[in-house]
């Protein structure tokens, strides 16, 4: 298969999250925050390159919004090129990883960073349709591709 974006920009990965003293205390409640959610998804692989979504700046911590109180999470992801045909697959991988990792009380919204893709609205609508998401995850071929993207982030 021909690569769409042959020479993507590569960025430095962020450091490991420092663990504070209070977080070591078993009796303290640690609310789910944006860094924790970012850590769940930053090592998802790009479907085209042997690089993570963080290294390609498809995902950035500043574009992860978490409202633990209201159980709401919004992720904005930025495709490397505006015609990227993999955008839906990337969005699906992020969604699936979060569905598998977070408590079910969370309402998760995965959208394209405004202005960074030519079919932004169509892709956002597809990623918000839970019926289509459920159906696509019963498609074994697609599920295998998604699982491959996610695999490294699980380690």
């Amino acid at each position: 298969m021909e690569l769409e974006n042959i020479n993507p920009n590569i960025f430095k990965k962020s450091d490991e999250r420092p663990v504070s003293e209070s977080e070591k205390n078993e009796n303290t409640v640690d609310p789910i925050d944006s860094r924790e959610v970012f850590d769940l998804i930053r090592n998802i692989n790009d479907p085209e390159h042997p690089l993570t979504l963080e290294e390609l700046h498809v995902l950035e911590e500043s574009r992860v919004e978490v409202d633990n109180e209201k159980s709401f999470i919004r992720i904005l992801f930025t495709p490397t090129i505006p015609h990227c045909s993999m955008a839906t697959l990337i969005g699906l991988s992020i969604r699936v990883k979060l569905l598998r990792s977070l408590p079910p009380r969370f309402k998760i919204s995965v959208q394209i960073t405004p202005g960074t893709h030519s079919s932004e609205n169509a892709i956002n609508k597809q990623l918000a349709d839970k019926e289509r998401i459920s159906a696509s995850l019963e498609n074994s071929t697609l599920l295998e591709v998604v699982n491959q993207c996610i695999a490294r982030s699980n380690r």
Binding site: K107, K125, E131, R132, A135, E138
Partner: protein, 394 residues
């Protein structure tokens, strides 16, 4: 704009649809609120916060009678048997479960697990009560009959290219309708005793995924709703048995997940991913209002929009044929009940929010009023539960 709080102009525009809450915004009615503390509470609150505040002060009107947790994974749909004494549910676990009423409790009578290889999205009992149809993501529709005492799958309808999303029997018992992500609506002609299902029409009029098919309560008229944001109405032309689309209803700004007729079939309520409910009124050819009917077919007009009530996508809507109440199933885990106001009119209907309840731990996927017992409601959710509710304020 409200002269008291100075910031809820949007709410005032929707006043018609929020009669119960509008007194707070309407200056002249402020004096009628007996609790001065409530006025203090509402200042500097957003529109939805005010609705929540008022709802929290309403008496509890919807009580849960029973919770059934037999399904594994999402429960997508539920439907009553026409007797009102039996219902069936289906979901992600690829099973159909049949429940019977025994004394005071609903008890699972059967599990049908050999019909489909993927999620079962929808189920429907025929009006004669002898048959059950199930629609699955595996692209097929199964017909189950109870001739031998237990439900057996005797026909499988193939034709859709991919996921079948909804299935419905016509009131006459002559037709079955199905719809799919392949953008088509199929109408199947049923021979006597439901022995054969012949394809009567393949309607490729939607430009996207078709989410729901629903028949008119009195005539063989079909409505479908879609990811393309529209609702379409179909009728058979008696001269050549061709099915044609007689109306396209456009006003929603996103996927229309659910549609439901009122008991007369002259109104439709629809619910959407745009977080609104819309009420549509049918105007016959030669109507007294003087609304033009260009193709010599009735036209449908959106006469009411309920906005500001729902916080997320609305997945299902049910209009009770006995009480006129409208129930909605929302992605914010709540069930809401709306009632037509006393001063509502045909051309400018007014619906009040009667109650709102945190019904499930995850998205509510379906709501269905019992066809025989007034006020009895079923709901299903992504949390794997089915709940049976009783609405007390009839």
């Amino acid at each position: 704009m409200c002269k008291l709080c100075m910031q809820h102009a949007a709410c005032l525009e929707n006043r018609k649809c929020m009669r119960k809450t509008s007194c707070i915004f309407n200056e002249t009615l402020h004096a009628q609120i007996e609790e001065p503390t409530l006025i203090i509470l509402i200042i500097n609150k957003s529109c939805s916060e005010i609705i929540n505040l008022i709802v929290s002060r309403m008496p509890q009107q919807l009580d849960v009678i029973q919770k059934l947790s037999a399904h594994r994974g999402k429960v997508w749909s539920v439907n009553w048997h026409p007797s009102g004494k039996v219902f069936a549910s289906c979901g992600e676990d690829k099973t159909i479960r049949i429940y019977n009423q025994e004394k005071d409790a609903w008890v699972m009578q059967a599990v049908l697990s050999d019909g489909h290889t993927r999620t079962i999205r929808d189920i429907a009992f025929s009006n004669c009560g002898m048959f059950l149809a199930s629609a699955s993501f595996d692209a097929t529709v199964s017909i189950w009959d109870k001739k031998a005492g237990t439900y057996e799958c005797n026909s499988t309808l193939e034709g859709h290219e991919n996921e079948v999303k909804s299935v419905a029997w016509s009131v006459s018992g002559q037709f079955l309708a199905t719809c799919s992500r392949d953008k088509s609506v199929w109408i199947w002609d049923i021979t006597a005793n439901c022995e054969e299902f012949d394809c009567a029409a393949v309607l490729n009029l939607h430009t996207q995924d078709v989410k729901k098919v629903v028949w008119h309560p009195l005539e063989d008229i079909l409505a479908s709703s879609s990811y393309d944001n529209t609702i379409k109405i179909y009728k058979e032309d008696p001269s050549d048995n061709d099915w044609t689309c007689t109306a396209t209803l456009t006003s929603h700004s996103s996927t229309v997940w659910g549609i439901t007729f009122d008991k007369t079939g002259k109104r439709i309520a629809s619910c959407s991913d745009d977080c609104t409910v819309k009420i549509w009124q049918q105007y016959e050819v030669g109507n007294a209002e003087g609304i033009s009917t260009p193709d010599n077919e009735p036209v449908w007009k959106c006469v009411c929009t309920l906005s500001g009530f729902h916080d997320r996508s609305i997945y299902d809507i049910s209009w009770c044929k006995l009480t006129g109440l409208i129930a909605t199933a929302c992605g914010d885990d709540h069930i809401r009940i709306f009632k037509e106001a006393d001063n509502s009119t045909k051309n400018e209907p007014i619906f009040d929010l009667e109650t709102k309840i945190l019904a499930h731990k995850q998205d509510v996927n379906a709501v269905k009023w019992n066809p025989v017992i007034p006020g009895l409601l079923l709901s299903t959710s992504d949390d794997g539960d089915i709940k049976i509710w009783k609405f007390n304020n009839l």
